[in-house]
């Protein structure tokens, strides 16, 4: 139980300051990225008119996500499609990694989810400035009237917090529940079933929700 909350760290010291990297998170997120690259390479290696099973599922995925982004962003959808789809796939693979032995989810670390949420946040605000111009972007904070400005700012920051804590809490909570219940039943029968539920079902739903909410925040930001 203790190593789930106090992960092993690499500590670097530069001058007086020292900073720590969570070793497991770094390695596992590189692993997830590598898996993503290999998977997409394998899916697009031999593109043919009669697709094999990998190409077929990749095409289905791309088509489905393209429909999703263009239904909520319209003509601008193709610009953000890659970001949303990659976020989804990365979180999906990260969440599924917890099921495999010797691997752990990089999304179990708050740093990973916070980074992912910050990417979506920056993209949303950058595109808001791009679409509305700087004046229009600032003006949106003073609507409907002047005094509401602090509430709008807090609301924007709360989006990042809620997005990252939702993913982190779900994955971390799942991992802790699996550990506790596995200990209670002496590793009999239940752990694999709970792995399937928390790893595959909750992992898929949370990855989808994360991507959808990022998409929603972007579409709220660029809407006139």
């Amino acid at each position: 139980m203790n190593d789930i909350l106090n992960p092993s760290q690499w500590v670097f010291a530069i001058g007086d300051a020292s900073f720590a990297l969570n070793a497991e998170t770094v390695v596992m997120s590189l692993f997830a990225a590598l898996a993503l690259v290999l998977l997409s390479y394998a899916a697009s290696r031999r593109v043919s008119m009669v697709p094999n099973i990998l190409q077929n599922s990749a095409e289905m995925f791309v088509e489905g996500f393209f429909d999703l982004t263009s239904s909520s962003l319209g003509a601008r959808g193709s610009r953000y499609f890659a970001l949303i789809a990659t976020t989804f796939l990365y979180i999906l693979i990260s969440n599924w990694m917890g099921v495999a032995p010797y691997l752990s989810e990089p999304t179990r670390d708050l740093n990973t989810t916070l980074a992912l949420a910050l990417i979506g946040f920056s993209v949303a605000h950058y595109s808001a400035i791009r679409v509305k111009g700087f004046k229009g972007y600032v003006k949106a904070y003073f609507e409907p009237f002047f005094l509401i400005f602090p509430l709008n700012v807090i609301g924007e920051l709360a989006k990042v917090v809620s997005l990252s804590f939702r993913l982190y809490g779900n994955i971390m909570g799942g991992a802790v529940i699996i550990l506790v219940v596995s200990d209670l039943v002496r590793q009999l029968v239940l752990p694999p079933l709970m792995m399937i539920f928390f790893g595959f079902f909750v992992g898929t739903v949370q990855a989808f929700v994360f991507a959808m909410l990022t998409l929603t925040y972007i579409s709220l930001a660029v809407r006139d």
């Binding site: 139980m1 909350l5 809620s162 804590f165 939702r166 982190y168 809490g169 779900n170 971390m172 909570g173 802790v176 739903v205 949370q206 989808f208 929700v209 959808m212 909410l213």
Partner: protein, 82 residues
């Protein structure tokens, strides 16, 4: 046997974790059940839109779940960190 200050803090943290999780689970429970029920009604009325309804339901449930997740994070902090 005397109860020391650290033991008292530990006991209060554990109690607090239980209370936080218990009360924090009420809201998401009601919210998610309500969402699922409404989605069922919608699917019964318009089965051809089942995909869209299920998708929207899952996103809505995850959003209403987030308060429960905050309670969980707080409870975990109280148990393992305090």
């Amino acid at each position: 046997m005397e109860i020391t200050g650290t033991e008292l803090v530990r006991a209060a943290a554990l109690l607090g974790a239980g209370i936080a999780m218990g009360f924090g689970a009420i809201g998401p429970g009601i919210g998610e059940g309500f969402t699922a029920g409404k989605a069922c009604e919608g699917i019964a009325r318009a089965p051809e839109h089942a995909n869209l309804l299920t998708r929207t339901m899952l996103v809505g449930q995850a959003v209403s779940e987030s308060t429960g997740i905050y309670a969980l994070v707080v409870a975990l902090l109280l148990i393992f960190v305090v």
